[in-house]
Symmetry: C2
Subunit: 265 residues, 2 copies
């Protein structure tokens, strides 16, 4: 007797956002939309899709997204990663690089199976929302994109040929997120858990602290981008609740006010 | 600490053959070759690839199979499913249809995860070889293709949108076959297990029995194809060892000899 497809906690798939960053080939956007529809996910965010005329790209992609036309039509386009993940409380980046790579040392790295387990646990919190970022076909996620991520995940491909096709990588990730649900008992929603901070809240905090650092003379000229990335990564390594973020925002706002010269307050 | 990718028993991936039947879009052949290379599988068999000029198709596919060019070049082309799976001892068909569908009632149906478990067990026999068949993009595997299969497997997609992109389906299946190996203890090879019959041996037996049925007047005119399919399916439901197949072949050969008129023996 075949098992019915089983999902995670109620509506948990609605709380997972697939984010495609700087995708070059519109066929891959269509393939991602199709896989999303196959496995019951609903949210697709596009950051700077490469094609200058996205409407044309949408039509081209629709051809490869058999039965997923509606999903594709409802995909939202954002100018920045920060805006695309603003509502999310856990942001995961996908990478082909293994622990040997420089970038990965800056982030904890999970296998896809471990990551799916983590996502399921995180979604027990009814206010949680998860983003999974996929970079461009050629270069993957940039360091700036990665600075918005809490953790990285990797599909276990061979060392000799690690780089996957984008549409196939999205399909495998979504399959694993659905698959995990059928293995283990469904985790209950935990209504008493404190609401986690959203990426938007953490990003506001990041920008306010940056402004304070700037005003205090902490940042050397030319080091603005590096400092911003470092701070962004660090703040995402903490597991801030919404309350934590609001408290810290209040503190930073006050410090910033004090740092400014009296006549510009 | 990330887990290293783990495979099944020694060389077991070399004993899994991906068979693409009547594939229409060469890009999907390239995508399948790329996924095979990502996960360490080596054998790709193509049955009647739709493109009349396969050489051109091969070049086109090579463009979408980044880093998998060698694998694609080594893909073998066969005119029939029977020839493509002749060396295999377990033949699995992929289907999007659920147990409600007519065709599936004729074959045992597993989820992909269950199927991967079964493949791992089967490959404990050092003489075992497994084929996984994928049908064409539009229509999937035909009834005739399915009659060569021992079992079916299904990727658990949603009822509302069950049909997957071919390249993505291949990638998910290969991921699951590799993934399973990392979960559970590696199964040892069982050198004492009797060698299973190959699909080629079972097909020879099928054809000999058919000839005998034909010669005996069992088959009504016009019912040849239906009888052949039925017989083929039935013989594959038994788990024949090589010894079983050879014994039965000898019996059928003798009966066939006896059935023929003396002057044509």
């Amino acid at each position: 007797v075949p098992k019915a497809p089983v999902t995670g906690p109620p509506n948990s798939l609605d709380r997972i956002v697939v984010v495609l960053v700087a995708t070059r080939n519109s066929l891959n956007i269509g393939a991602a939309a199709r896989a999303k529809s196959n496995f019951g996910f609903t949210q697709l965010h596009l950051v700077r899709p490469w094609d200058p005329s996205f409407q044309e790209a949408r039509e081209e992609a629709a051809r490869s997204a058999v039965g997923a036309g509606d999903l594709l039509a409802s995909a939202q386009v954002f100018p920045t990663v920060a805006e695309a993940v603003a509502g999310c409380t856990l942001v995961l980046g996908t990478t082909a690089v293994t622990a040997g790579g420089r970038r990965d040392l800056l982030h904890p790295l999970d296998t896809l199976a471990e990551s799916a387990e983590r996502v399921r646990e995180h979604l027990q919190n009814p206010e949680a929302q998860v983003a999974i970022l996929f970079g461009s076909e050629k270069t993957g996620l940039s360091n700036d994109d990665l600075s918005h991520c809490h953790r990285l995940l990797r599909i276990p491909t061979r060392e000799e040929h690690i780089s996957m096709n984008l549409g196939q990588a999205v399909a495998i990730c979504l399959y694993e997120f659905v698959r995990t649900g059928s293995d283990t008992e469904e985790l209950p929603l935990d209504a008493a858990a404190p609401a986690p901070a959203s990426a938007g809240e953490v990003e506001r905090l990041t920008q306010m602290i940056l402004e304070a650092l700037q005003a205090s003379g902490y940042i050397a000229p030319g080091a603005e981008a590096a400092t911003e990335e470092k701070l962004r990564r660090q703040l995402r390594r903490f597991t801030l609740t919404r309350h934590d973020a609001q408290l810290a925002l209040g503190m930073a706002r006050q410090i910033l006010w004090k740092l400014k010269p009296p006549d510009s307050r």
